[in-house]
Symmetry: C2
Subunit: 114 residues, 2 copies
């Protein structure tokens, strides 16, 4: 039984400073939340790792979840968007190039529950 | 740059009552947390959807994240374990058959950041 689709997004070549900037990462995720009409349950969780470390963000959605983990040391951001209801694909390529300076963005759509 | 591995786990044929039982689902995830020596940051988030709906659980980890979403109406549980550090595979097949009555468990290992 197919219960949803998970988009697995890996961006590389990003600006390390952007990958440590919670406000900027939050803006990226919240743009997708608005654009895809997702419903956030409770408060999103954000965690900035110490020193030169990256950031984790987790949104619990009525539609499942949205997460980001960043690795400034490698210029990499990885996101997951799991939707248990049909959604158009989001233009992660454009969003992550514009907001984080990504030079390559890979998006895989993984059916869930099958 | 490979920054981690995500295990995508889809279990079907589960007992619908188990898929609405937060305590039982919590025990499944916490067994994996202990067995894999994962470090949970802050309080896990659990949300039981209204009526005959399922349950969502989200753990923010020092190693990335662990999530579960259940669909009692379809007998399906879907989990994600994303680890940015090397970990042995967990025996999700045995764990989900024993705890949820799953009759089939699929596990995919997805490299992240590549």
């Amino acid at each position: 039984m197919l219960v949803g689709t998970e988009w697995i997004i890996d961006a590389s070549g990003c600006d390390p400073a952007a990958l440590r900037d919670v406000a900027r990462l939050r803006a990226v995720l919240e743009s997708a939340v608005r654009g895809l009409d997702l419903r956030v349950l409770g408060e999103p969780r954000w965690h900035a790792f110490a020193g030169e470390g990256g950031v984790t963000g987790m949104y619990l959605l009525a539609e499942s979840h949205l997460t980001v983990h960043t690795y400034p040391e490698w210029g990499v951001a990885t996101l997951n968007l799991y939707c248990c209801r049909a959604r158009e694909p989001w233009d992660w390529d454009a969003a992550l190039r514009a907001a984080l300076g990504a030079t390559a963005v890979g998006v895989r759509a993984v059916p869930r529950g099958a």
